[in-house]
């Protein structure tokens, strides 16, 4: 049996609205993945350290406050510094189209905007992580 995909669901920044992060965490778990949820107010350093320790293949960031342009590039930079370039970073939340394009160009594997289905997120992760 293949090893289940391991995902870190993280909530960076000061925002406490965790409905989306929790729903995603449950959905990924129901889809057979191993999910670690960081809880609230994680700095990029805390998130990347948790990803390293938990040996995850995917990090999912939930950001609703508009702080994505400050937070996401920092996480990408830390992943490169720690030689974790194979970890897929995905972002979900309120991210305008032009910002989403910019984040993808910088190395984010996928950006899921409001209304994205749970299925589409599960399917994307399965296709992005080599079996």
């Amino acid at each position: 049996m293949p090893r289940p995909i391991r995902v870190l669901v993280a909530k960076p920044g000061l925002d406490g609205h965790d409905r989306g992060a929790k729903v995603i965490a449950r959905a990924l778990r129901d889809a057979g993945m191993e999910v670690i949820y960081t809880g609230l107010r994680q700095t990029p350093e805390m998130i990347v350290n948790a990803a390293l320790q938990e040996d995850v293949q995917v990090i999912g960031l939930s950001i609703l406050s508009g702080a994505h342009n400050a937070i996401v590039p920092r996480v990408l930079e830390l992943l490169r510094e720690k030689d974790m370039g194979d970890v897929k970073l995905i972002v979900g939340g309120i991210v305008p189209d032009e910002d989403a394009d910019a984040l993808r160009r910088q190395g984010v594997a996928a950006v899921f905007q409001p209304g994205a289905s749970l299925d589409s997120i599960v399917t994307f992760i399965r296709s992005a992580v080599p079996a």
Partner: protein, 530 residues
Amino acid sequence: MKTAQRQFTTISGVPIEPVYGPEQVQELDRSRDLGEPGEFPYTRGIHRDMYRGKLWTMRQFSGFAVPEETNRRYRYLLEQGQTGLSVAFDLPTLMGYDADHALSEGEVGKCGVSICSLEDMETLFQSIPLGDVTVSMTINSPAAVLWAMYLAVAEKQGVAWTRLSGTLQNDILKEYIAQKEYIFPPRPSMRLVTDTIEFGARHTPRFNPISISGYHIREAGSTAVQELAFTLRDGIEYVDWALERGLATDEFAPRLSFFFNAHSDFFEEIAKYRAARKIWAYVMRDRYGARNDRSQMLRFHAQTAGCSLTWQQPYNNVVRTALQAMAAVLGGAQSLHTNSLDEAYALPSEHAVTIALRTQQVLAYETGVTQTPDPLGGSYFLEKLTLETEQAANDYIQRIDGMGGMIKAIEAGFPQREIATASYRYQREVEAEERVIVGVNRFQSDDQPIELLQIGETAARKQSEKLAALKKRRINRRVEQSLDALRRSAEGSENTMPAILDAVRAYATLGEICDALRAVFGTYQETSHL
């Protein structure tokens, strides 16, 4: 096209019968369950003449970037016929950090206005006479500090505190339950809330020191019944703490106010507001022996459901908001915020917020729903739904009583888990298309882009520069003394409001004042309940 549903339930999952008639409401007793409008138990509304006497307050929640820009938006909204103000603060302010704090990076002015000191509060209300306008402030963990700033601005404008009218949200319990913008642990937080309730009872007789809020509980994914039950049980907790402090029920209870969501299920929402008034009237009369009618009357603000707005086909949001707002009006709301069509993307543009305000004005002046109180009262369906909602909410309230109260329930993760389970079930129903969301899982089409309010990174720089200048200009020895006095006050058991006011008047910053309180109270980390 699919038309037949497989199951008939409210959006919260309450089953609905094929048809309602007298047999469904046999148990209904007119004087026990309904009363007349303006009479106990206020199921039909708190006023006999309702909107014939006075329309609801049209109060758009608003705030962004720096105080100068938000002040301009407020003056615009007042010119357009808005009748009250409602301040949205940014995340650093909500969390008690100044704009120049490391954790504030990327967040300054994004979700609301940045307020770091009394100076910012003075700017926010420049040319807005505080004696003539009612102001609501959505602030919780550091509510006592922001309220002290507001009181200090009134002093500077020469407006007596007794003339001030408005509402402080100041509901910390729903932060632990749902919105998660907390700083201190529950017990010292409850002490600060009780300090403001006590201070208000003595000094600001027309100001609501708390708005006990279900809105955020619902936005976090709860059902209508959970929203109602957790909110009213929070209210009971605040009453218990105020009584413990030595206040008499009728001294503070008339100024307790509430805040509910106006979600999409039309009849379920109206039933929720009616059940809320009824439960609260009985709680205050029978559990607490309140004699004053005003202690028994549940007054509430409503806001349409942000979580119901869609990113797809955003103009549909105007329609959703209008219908939700009508439910709030038919449910007897005292004040109302209507969301703007672009709020699934960003804080609203001036154009979008104007449409939202016009929606309220159309409701008030064109639809005729304001002409008689509780116009849907007596509907078999609505009365049955009101009774069912009341029963289900009372069951939850008793369960939480059995746990030893709301703080114990929060520490056990009970309301948090109930909400997470409800929100996951709802999302699954949407995925399975058991719940249709127009434009999202059915009737999709290509979207036309809409114009959005842009908030750049300049707010952080401007606010940091102002802070640096303030710290050079103010008398720093006085700031230090006031913060020392505040720490001593927090360590003791006296009311902290006078010490907070002194620190604010000395131009201590929000971050400095909250740091002083953090040093005494510590901070809170929740155990995550997935």
